[in-house]
């Protein structure tokens, strides 16, 4: 819930007023609701005439779509838009949100209408904002103890004017008077108590429904509707007209959520946590505290008892790291930092164990699909949807992108050919809805072609490190050496007493090791066996933070963080995972052919920070500007401390903007190599070495040639 206090000085009371204000707003409603017969059909029907609905309509018509019906139950802009305080904030912490806000800002100025945008003062500590308003002030805020309500499809008019609750407003009022004591004498005009919509991750919801084609959603603005209105409307309109938006909006995509996040209790708990965060400092690696432990691995309790600290992705609990019994971490509030975090030493020990001995990481959250057919249908559709060649011998694993028409990554996965007609596909955790929708959309309606989501059926354990091979050979009584079990192979075998374990000779970090896909009922048994046998090899648990450090120092891109729908394999040095001449067309091939001919306009690059003091300097996380010879060339997409290099490593895309026009130009390897680079962390620039290929000395063991490009899934 969301409070606004409207207060005007006494002398002003006679002329302007609330009524006045709302009628002023109504000049936005050009089509004042007269009862007009609705057309029987239209190209686009927009439900809701608030700032989002009107913005989408505006942008659609700019793009030439004019057959639009906009439905509004009250007056235009009469819902939560009406209670909008007219504050446009252009300081956002997500790139895409930043872009939407910047665009909105420009658009509103361009429209030159009375949009009510004014300078506002935000007191984030006091959780309030204050602005001038018709001779008085308007102040509101985001309380620490919000009261969630569900509208139950009730008429907007019923819910938009909730009873005032002064006791609830007291902390915000006290903040206001602490900041501006002079306001004490202001006369109270009205306390407005109106509901706002919030989402489970504080980001808005945008995009096409994964189940109803042509049904687009733009909602859940987390009280930033005005800031995003212009940009969000534009992207959604592009999406509807062109089939995709011009920016990467995955962070806001409706499909990042599934049915699992729609439970009423989950939403109630989570929005109560989200709302107070609006004015809180956003620190890196923040985990929500509510709505947790929804999806867990069968090993959750075992790992938790051994000190696991958890993060959540798509409702799934994943271990971050394991706190040793003798070690104390900071309390939650104190652990918030932009500097070296308190888990530094813990992760270091885990990384070291991965390098020198063997670790086990529970990676069960991965999305797992099986695609099976009676004939060649499965192979045919996969060949069309994926850029790499999947017509490989049974037992082989292929890393491949699922590309869109522009050659950009819709998904990045590993696919194992289980037999001639059956494939096992591993995707990032948050791909469960998006990838499913993409496959379903493109798969022919054929009863002999079966797609099954088997995510819940398998527990995934990653045995990582040079001794992984020893542990596994002891448990399987089978030779696991590269001669018998080369890299990127998948075999069903028994581990301990358990049969039917899918063992894959791959890790997601570039270290030697295996992924074990274990039917869930065997998970505890296999885990116990691995830990027992592993004892003499120095086995220990590790978490995703160690994994992250390992993958970034080896220059592995992650979908969802480094890779997105606008980055192509050629831009991140993955030419070898694209088989342009595999004998048939695939989605994105045309675009890649062209790119191959013309060259790429951005290039995924690894940076090793030189003069950065890990203990004293602010850490890079992501989104830091990259400078080449003093010129801005792009932003980082992820970063981690490399315990091996004893340096920070940042990954990011380097562009080549023309000095005259700012236009993007081709980026060559030569362009990358011949620059002096700096990474800007919160205003301080650090020298960095740019690399287009991983540091080879990190691969101490002997490997096959293409191991260098080993997997890189996800784990963000």
């Amino acid at each position: 819930m969301f409070y606004r206090l409207l207060s005007v000085a006494r002398r002003q009371r006679t002329s302007p007023g609330w009524q006045n204000w709302s009628s002023m707003r109504s000049n936005m409603s050009t089509a004042e609701a007269q009862s007009i017969a609705l057309p029987a059909q239209a190209q686009v029907v927009i439900c809701g005439g608030g700032i989002m609905g009107t913005s989408v309509a505006y942008h659609l018509s700019k793009m030439g779509w004019t057959d639009i019906v906009l439905l509004e139950q009250g007056r235009l802009a009469a819902g939560s838009t009406r209670f909008c305080a007219g504050i446009l904030s252009t300081a956002r912490h997500l790139t895409i949100e930043q872009k939407m806000a910047d665009y909105s800002n420009k658009l509103y100025h361009q429209l030159e209408q009375e949009t009510g945008i004014q300078t506002a003062i935000v007191d984030a500590d006091g959780r309030i904002y204050i602005r001038n308003w018709q001779g008085g002030i308007l102040s509101g805020g985001f309380e620490k103890n919000p009261k969630p309500i569900f509208t139950e499809g009730k008429n907007q008019l019923e819910i938009q004017n909730l009873q005032e609750d002064w006791d609830h407003f007291e902390p915000l009022l006290s903040s206001l008077l602490r900041r501006m004591p002079e306001l004490e004498t202001l006369e109270i005009m009205k306390l407005v108590n109106c509901p706002e919509t919030f989402t489970p991750d504080m980001r808005c919801i945008m995009g096409e429904s994964p189940v109803v084609q042509g049904y687009f959603v733009l909602a859940g603005m987390n009280s930033a509707g005005l800031s995003f209105g212009g940009g969000a409307g534009k992207y959604l309109a592009e999406w509807m007209v062109h089939g995709y938006p011009s920016e990467n909006i995955w962070d806001l995509d409706l499909k990042r959520f599934g049915a699992l996040q729609s439970s009423r209790t989950f939403l109630r708990h989570r929005v109560m946590e989200v709302m107070p965060l609006i004015y809180d400092l956003k620190v890196p690696r923040w985990d929500f505290q509510t709505g947790r432990q929804l999806r867990t691995s069968p090993l959750y309790d075992r790992l938790d008892a051994q000190g696991a600290r958890w993060m959540e992705k798509h409702g799934f609990e994943r271990p971050k790291y394991f706190v040793p019994p003798d070690k104390d971490l900071l309390a939650l509030e104190q652990s918030k930092t932009f500097y070296k975090p308190d888990w530094f030493d813990i992760v270091e020990a885990e990384v070291k164990c991965c390098k020198e001995a063997v670790c086990v990481i529970d990676m069960s959250s991965f999305t797992k699909f099986e695609i099976t057919s009676t004939g060649d249908q499965a192979l045919e559709i996969l060949q069309y949807l994926f850029s790499n060649d999947l017509d490989v011998p049974v037992g082989h694993i292929v890393h491949t992108g699922m590309l869109n028409e522009g050659g950009g990554y819709e998904n990045d996965c590993s696919i194992a050919r289980l037999n001639k007609r059956s494939f096992f596909m591993i995707s990032p955790t948050d791909q469960q809805v998006h990838c499913w929708a993409w496959l379903k959309k493109h798969m022919p309606k054929d009863n002999n072609l079966l797609l099954e989501d088997v995510t819940w059926k398998y527990t995934a354990l990653n045995l990582i490190g040079p001794r992984a091979v020893d542990v596994l050979s002891e448990l399987s009584y089978a030779p696991m050496t590269p001669d018998h079990f080369p890299t990127l192979f998948c075999k069903e075998m028994s581990v301990g007493y358990a049969n039917g374990i899918r063992v894959m000779s791959m890790t997601h970090t570039g270290e030697p090791g295996f992924m074990l896909y274990i039917p869930i009922e065997y998970a505890l048994h296999v885990y116990n066996e691995v830990m027992n046998v592993g004892q003499k090899y120095g086995i220990r648990n590790a978490g995703y933070y160690a994994l992250r450090s390992l993958r970034i120092e080896k220059f592995f891109a992650f979908w969802g963080q480094d890779l997105n729908t606008l980055t192509t394999p050629l831009e991140c040095g993955r030419e070898s995972w694209v088989k342009l001449e595999k004998g048939m067309d695939f989605i994105g091939r045309e675009a890649l052919l062209q790119q191959k001919q013309n060259g790429v306009y951005k290039r995924f690059t690894m940076f090793i920070l030189d003069d950065h003091d890990t203990d004293l300097d602010l850490w890079p996380w992501w989104g830091e500007p990259i400078f080449r010879n003093g010129q801005y060339v792009g932003k980082t997409t992820s970063s981690a401390y490399s315990y091996t290099l004893e340096r920070h490593v940042c990954l990011g895309f380097v562009h080549n903007f023309s000095e005259d026009s700012g236009e993007e130009q081709v980026v060559t390897a030569d362009f990358i190599n011949r620059g002096e680079y700096e990474i800007d962390i919160a205003g301080h620039r650090f020298q960095a070495k740019a690399k287009l290929y991983p540091v080879t000395s990190l691969f101490a063991h002997k490997r096959r040639k293409d191991d260098v490009e080993l997997s890189d899934l996800h784990g963000k």
């Binding site: 009261k147 139950e152 006791d167 007291e170 009022l173 109630r268």
Partner: protein, 435 residues
Amino acid sequence: MIDLNSAVPNSVLRFESNQLAANSPVEDRRGVASCLQTSGLMFGIFDGHGGHACAQAVSERLFYYVAVSLMSHQTLEQMEGAMENMKPLLPILQWLKHPGDSIYKDVTSVHLDHLRVYWQELLDLHMEMGLSIEEALMYSFQRLDSDISLEIQAPLEDEVAKNLSLQVAFSGATACMAHVNGVHLHVANAGDCRAILGVQEDNGMWSCLPLTCDHNAWNPSELSRLKREHPESEDKTIIIDDRLLGVLMPCRAFGDVQLKWSKELQRNVLERGFDTEALNIYQFTPPHYYTPPYLTAKPEVTYHRLRPQDKFLVLASDGLWDMLGNEDVVRLVVGHLSKAGCHKPDLAQRPANLGLMQSLLLQRKASGLHAADQNAATHLIRHAIGSNEYGEMEPERLTAMLTLPEDLARMYRDDITVTVVYFNSDSIDAYYKGS
């Protein structure tokens, strides 16, 4: 909260009432009225089932029957005279309503006709002083139930009235009402609503005095009554799964003619061309239906002479008692009373400016009554749905229970209606000292 002023007999200080719906629409009803031709104040709780029609009808009509029963022969003659000569009737009741209460329809002409038939019969008894309160309550309950049952058997012209009568007769309602006149407290109960007294002994200790027995399968005397009223062969089938004939929780109720009429009568009435589906009438014959009636609206009437130590009366529908025990309820009302004793700054008079508002809000916060209820009934309902198994208040649970979607609410809680009546110990004390 509705405060009573001087118009009210002074043994009642004030009363507080509230209602929380679980059914949609709510099936509970309540009523408070004072008798204008006799002295006395009436409080009622009516818990409907199978719809709200019966509870609505009983809440509208029962108090009139009681008031008429208590009238002297002379008053009844005046009433009859007025009717004969088409003159205005003497006012019978003054209702004390909450603006949010469902609107009481004025007694329709048919209902008034039946009320008149009732007072004509009372006139025939030639009792100068009217019935005793106990008799009045006893007769009124049964008379109203029988009128409800007869109204639908007699042919009715008006389609709307006909359909309404059918809905009333085929739904049901339990009723619990109190009549307070000076130190004389009568409670009449049919069903599983409940009335309890909060008593403070001289040593300051609080206790609970129940004034009703629940009429349900857990009440041994109700069980033996039912067995007595029906052949021995039905001993095993009269209560199945703790329900009357396996269908109804309370053993006494208004309406519910499915459990009162013979099968033939039910069929005859319903075959007169009612659209039972449109009227949302649940038509069924319970198994083992041999010797109706199985259900009665005959109340159990308790008399209690109020003492200075009797501080308050709580009347509530079973929705409250499902969640809280008698002692819990007394404890909560007592706790509420002690807190309400502290002065809490009132927001009704809006302070003039922001500074004054802030200091007022801070005072309210400091007095620790931030969330406290002004109304004891609200306090009881809040605890009924917001307390965990240890009786501790859980705001989270409360929020969850209050924001249940309409179609789910009934699975987690029942309609709850509570009226708390506070007695004026001083005037009760004065009564004893004076006499």
